[in-house]
Symmetry: C2
């Protein structure tokens, strides 16, 4: 096998109360990536794709992880990568992570699974470093592992899969730009202990809710008194979206990653459809361009289509 195609899905990082440590994998949207084994120790990013992403592999979110992977391989091999990108960069649903995760999963398959999933996350984080200047795994890990994923620690890397019940997701991407680095800079470096205590009560409740299939507990735990009050100011209509989506039956939700997308978790597909209708009506009224998705939590992560 010398060539392989994968679907690399979008992901939601943070999950409201799990800033920097929780993420989940979506069924849609996804990028389609083709990776081909070549006989020279280098990474080639095929021009094309979309969104004018850099083709210098060291500056490309799919290229940098593959360069890191090649450094741990003795053989004289390399990879050529072809990306058809559907996940818009800057949308807050793990566009850079999808490229990184898709590339390393496909390459590893071509290498007969030489590396384990934790290695792949380690390589993938080089893509996040290229994209935002910081190595983080809360999109990469769920994209590779599937489902809901806890990154208990980055150094050393400690990834824990969190079983969850069926979850449907409504997502809206208001077409404004929020740079991850800006979204990070506006956060205070210190937080009140009493707020931190509420936050760790909520993340413990969220993990327990997922593992007990307790939708009501999941909903009650989707609270954030630290990050959301600051970051949501960058997203027009945020408070109204959240309120009306919950009135329409969403369990809860909030900012996806560093935004501007907003996600809402639902126990049923039809609720997610109703929630999407609310999202559309709010941004239609505001006259702000947007894109919505109704999808589900994807238990499998990057999907290998075959050679």
């Amino acid at each position: 096998m010398s060539e392989i195609t994968v679907h690399a899905p979008a992901t939601v990082a943070n999950l409201v109360c799990g800033f920097d440590v929780l993420g989940l994998c979506l069924s849609e949207p996804f990028d389609t990536m083709r990776v081909r084994l070549i006989n020279e120790k280098k990474v080639v990013i095929a021009p094309g794709g979309s969104f004018g992403l850099p083709v210098d592999p060291a500056l490309n979110t799919a290229g940098a992880p593959l360069i890191a992977m090649l450094e741990e391989i003795d053989d004289e091999i390399g990879f050529e990568v072809n990306i058809v990108k559907n996940i818009k960069p800057g949308s807050g649903i793990g566009s850079s992570a999808a490229s990184a995760a898709g590339a390393v999963v496909a390459a590893n398959k071509l290498l007969n699974n030489k590396f384990d999933r934790q290695d792949l996350v380690r390589f993938g984080m080089f893509g996040e470093k290229v994209a935002s200047g910081v190595k983080h795994a809360d999109n990469i890990a769920p994209c590779i592992y599937g489902g809901v994923t806890l990154i208990r620690s980055i150094f050393p890397l400690d990834i824990v899969s969190i079983p969850s019940p069926d979850l449907h997701v409504a997502l809206v991407h208001p077409q404004i730009e929020v740079r991850t680095s800006d979204a990070r800079e506006i956060l205070r470096k210190e937080v009140l202990l009493k707020d931190a205590i509420r936050q760790w009560g909520n993340i413990a409740g969220l993990v327990a809710g997922f593992m007990k299939n307790d939708y009501a507990l999941i909903g009650r735990s989707l609270e954030d008194f630290i990050i959301e009050p600051v970051r949501s100011m960058l997203i027009p209509g945020f408070d109204e979206v959240k309120r009306r989506c919950k009135e329409a039956g969403a369990l809860g939700g909030g900012i996806s990653g560093s935004g501007p997308s907003i996600f809402m978790l639902c126990s049923e597909r039809k609720t997610a459809n109703a929630v999407e209708t609310e999202m559309r009506s709010i941004y239609d009224r505001m006259g702000l361009p947007y894109h919505t998705y109704v999808t589900a939590v994807n238990a499998d992560g990057v999907r290998v289509l075959g050679s």
Copy 2:
């Protein structure tokens, strides 16, 4: 039935990374309490017991919860309480909570379970207010629910039982006084966001570890970069106890409640015995009086012995 006897067990609050939100119930030590129904609307605390605790019911940790309970009962009834106290006040293993929880569980049994467990926790917290000036539930809730308990929120009260594998516990109580109020005052009101993130990664890992029966994950998650570095300074020998107990096979552990007791979780009884030996040798060498226990997590909470 007009009289009932219960065993009200010790508890460990905080569980290292779960400050103010997690607790677990122990099999031993426990207080023995007898509660009798009387025909007058009042609470009587029988003198005796031990440790010279106040007999004014409004100032007694068993009395105050019963007064709160009586306020929600129309009938002309009251309770007489007899306490044989084995859990030393100020030891950091939920002495006040045991009295409060034992009293309300016994009284509720005499009332044919008029109240649910969450009501009982709500009443019990009046005992904590008497003891430390603050209503908290991280000892009361595990004492009433048994096992490992998450208090996701106090206002409104939201208690979640966390399933866990068999856990054995070694405990040492160095005989020094640490007042809960003092232990709280030395904490900083603000914490670094990056430390808070590590803490919520750990509590999420701990909850997942309990629910997945993953002892190694439980051990890795028993880290605290916020409270322990400050409070442990009040406990002579803390760092050495922790290090040597882990070398002896403990999964991990730390300060029980606000101290001075130190607890260590172990996957097997024989490890807990070895850990106790380490604890004894350290305090023997230091010449500091202490008491140790080797016990287990108690899934049932307050035990009703019958009338």
